[in-house]
């Protein structure tokens, strides 16, 4: 009895001497292993597995945490509401009576013949007027974007334009931060590659943002970007003469994304630098010696040796940066959230996770917020797969 109960024993070893144990016997004999697994397994089941199933179910429900009604299954309605888009051609507006082309001057619509007079009188500029999106889109749709497509004015409507705004903002954010973190991370790693004391100090400095409390530093950035002249950036710009009046960076839709991107790159360089340094260490130094003997220039060495051999690291950096980028929340919440909404002025900083937070924990639309989470998961999953595919394919080459 005693020798065979060791959990470490392979059941194959025992079967040399006796009948193979049945599955139940093997489970009973492994009871110590299961008991030792339990402290991890129990919280894992309650806080990871169970919520995963619940989340999938809730995303098909109309579940408002503030209402007392029981949650109700509504099929794919949350997903349909989030994802529905409608594209309509937007025809020019003509005067009903005269058939004249209409122009939009400020808030007024006037026929073409009166435009010149109006412009010189009021000093306003007029543009061609189009049929209002409200008259073009189906019920439940609102205007999200208006643009020219193949020479025609079109309007893109969505049932939830804020969701599409958050998706578009997130993609812009991910695009710039991933490129920035990748390029700067690699550049710094290459520059600080040699093991000198000076380089070591610089590496520590670059790595500092990865280990300091990110929230505290974000708040400091907030004060640095303050709109008043005591804000550091405004002071320096005023001083250098680049501007004459201080810019309210945090309340200006045009500045939201650049600030978010710059701050994220600032915080991410060091982490990627460490990864690239580890990758560079794995490159055989003899390759460089051979290249030097062959008279290869620095650019040839970089593009023919360093870059191809860093491919696994680059792929990893790319994937983690993309995943991290899609989950951005804290910076948006701390710098731009107000009581009216999560995304700052005109939702210019509204990304997917802040929108999820807004739906789930401000409006308490639990079903809707869960559906957003699953869409986010799907996007991350697909992008990771594409990355792995492309990475593998180019590796084979």
């Amino acid at each position: 009895m005693s020798a065979q109960t060791y959990p470490g024993r392979r059941s194959g070893a025992a079967s040399l001497h006796r009948q193979p144990a049945s599955i139940l016997q093997r489970i009973w004999r492994s009871r110590v292993s299961y008991i030792m697994l339990l402290p991890m397994l129990l919280p894992f089941a309650f806080f990871v597995l169970l919520p995963l199933i619940q989340s999938a179910l809730v995303s098909f429900q109309d579940y408002s945490a503030v209402k007392t009604d029981e949650p109700e299954y509504i099929g794919f309605e949350n997903y349909v509401n989030l994802l529905s888009l409608e594209l309509r051609e937007q025809p020019a507006l003509f005067d009903d009576a005269t058939g004249e082309r209409m122009y939009l001057c400020g808030r007024r619509r006037i026929p073409q013949s009166e435009v010149t007079a109006y412009e010189s009188e009021e000093g306003a500029t007029c543009s061609e007027a189009f049929v209002s999106p409200r008259d073009l889109l189906s019920d439940g749709y609102r205007e999200w974007q208006t643009f020219t497509l193949l020479g025609k004015q079109v309007v893109l409507g969505a049932r939830d334009p804020r969701f599409w705004t958050s998706i578009a903002n997130t993609f812009v954010f991910v695009f710039y931060t991933v490129i920035g973190k990748l390029v700067f991370g690699l550049a710094v790693a290459l520059a600080l590659r040699k093991q000198t004391r000076f380089n070591y100090v610089l590496r520590l400095i670059f790595f500092l943002p990865s280990v300091t409390a990110s929230i505290a530093v974000t708040v400091v950035w907030g004060w640095i970007f303050k709109g008043q002249p005591y804000g550091l950036i405004n002071y320096m710009l005023l001083q250098s003469g680049a501007i004459t009046e201080s810019i309210s960076f945090l309340n200006d839709a045009a500045w939201t994304m650049p600030i978010l991107v710059a701050m994220t790159i600032w915080g991410g360089i060091g982490y990627n630098m460490i990864l690239f340094l580890a990758g560079l260490q794995n490159i055989n130094p003899e390759l460089y010696e051979v290249a030097a003997i062959d008279g290869a220039g620095p650019w040839a060495i970089f593009s023919r040796i360093t870059l191809p051999l860093l491919r696994p690291t680059t792929l990893y950096v790319l994937i983690t940066s993309i995943i991290g980028g899609f989950q951005v929340f804290e910076a948006v919440y701390i710098l731009f959230a107000t009581s009216e909404g999560m995304g700052g002025v005109l939702d210019s900083g509204l990304t997917v996770v802040p929108y999820l937070y807004d739906s789930g924990f401000r409006l308490f639309q639990m079903g809707y917020a869960s559906a957003i989470a699953w869409i986010l998961f799907a996007i991350i999953f697909v992008l990771t797969l594409i990355n792995l595919r492309v990475g593998r394919a180019s590796e084979a080459y």
Binding site: P7, G8, R9, I27, S30, V32, S33, M36, L37, P39, M40, L41, P43, F44, F46, F47, V48, L49, P51, S55, V58, A187, A191, L202, I205, F207, L208, P209, V211, T212, A213, S214, I215, A216, V217, T218, V219, V220, G222, W223, I224, P229, Y230, L232, G270, Y271, I274, L275, A278, T313, F326, Q327, F329, Y333, I334, A369, S370, A373, L376, F377
Partner: protein, 297 residues
């Protein structure tokens, strides 16, 4: 030939100058934080701002003359009269919660990692794959049911609500298991033959041997929990249960007067100092943790 050599040297120096400039940019917020935390109120209000503190003071932390505006405001440790212990309470909350999570999460992950690395039992691969697969799921997917479950069964505004759901860390299990796989089986077998029980082997033999991995993982977990904003944000409602990240969110009013900057910088400083100290003490482990996870992943 000589000219190209000279131009590469020039290029190299320019590159190095650029890197140093970047490093200085990295340091700007830290410099601004320290500066703001130790300035007096009149100095904070001054335009243009000063870049070297004229009269360093601790008033942003505690100002005995806090009730005498305009040259004084109440310091960080005076502005929470509604909470017993004031700011100390929030420091304690953060310390206690992230400390408890780190210790407990490491312990249960190491226990499971040992079983999954060194025991052979039915379902071993299934459980391992289950844990690994869960790492792909972003936390956003489970946060809503977790919030509903915790508010129903544990209760909002409790330490349990902060600690218990944060315990299962699949990445810690993965990392520690990788580390344990390289340990020789013979050693464990020998201990078994000496009559040691499995828990005893785990506590006396395995845990000390995975010490370095525990330190790397522990730092990683602790830092993440110290910075955790979202979960306390949705589960903590009362004043006294707030953690430092929640306090930091109140420090960034876009229209706040310059006067408030001192207190904001003081709390930013106190929030980041523990992480910086740990980093200085454990640089190698921090870096190793990242590098190893990436190579294996």
């Amino acid at each position: 030939m000589e000219q190209t050599a000279r131009s590469t040297t020039v290029l190299r120096w320019m590159g190095m100058a650029l890197i140093v400039l970047m490093a200085l940019i990295i340091l700007i917020p830290y410099y601004w934080m320290v500066l703001g935390a130790f300035k007096t109120v009149p100095e904070l209000n001054r335009i243009p701002p000063t870049f070297i503190i004229e009269a360093p003071t601790l008033n942003s932390f505690y100002d005995p003359l806090g009730e005498l505006p305009p040259d004084h405001t109440r310091g960080l440790f005076q502005i929470y009269p509604g909470t017993e212990g004031g700011f100390f309470r929030y420091v304690f909350n953060s310390m206690f919660v992230s400390g408890a999570i780190t210790v407990c999460a490491l312990f249960i992950a190491a226990l499971a990692a040992y079983v999954l690395a060194k025991h052979h039992f039915p379902g071993r691969n299934f459980f391992f794959l289950l844990f690994i697969a869960s790492m792909m799921i972003p936390w956003q997917v489970t946060i809503i049911p977790n919030f509903l479950n915790v508010s129903r069964y544990i209760g909002l505004d409790t330490y349990g609500a902060l600690i218990i759901p944060a315990l299962p860390k699949a990445f810690a299990l993965f990392f520690l298991r990788q580390y344990m796989l390289s340990m020789p089986d013979e050693m464990i077998e020998a201990a078994r033959l000496d009559g040691a029980g499995e828990f005893r082997i785990f506590l006396r033999m395995i845990l000390p041997l995975v010490g370095p991995a525990l330190v790397s993982m522990g730092l990683f977990i602790w830092l993440n929990e110290w910075n955790n904003l979202v979960w306390p944000l949705v589960t903590m409602r009362s004043e006294e249960m707030r953690t430092l990240p929640l306090i930091m969110t109140t420090m960034n009013d876009p229209f706040a007067a310059a006067t408030k900057q001192g207190v904001a910088m003081a709390s930013a400083l106190l929030t980041s100092i523990p992480t910086v100290i740990l980093f200085i003490l454990f640089q190698k482990q921090f870096v190793q943790g990242i590098a190893v996870v990436s190579v294996k992943g």
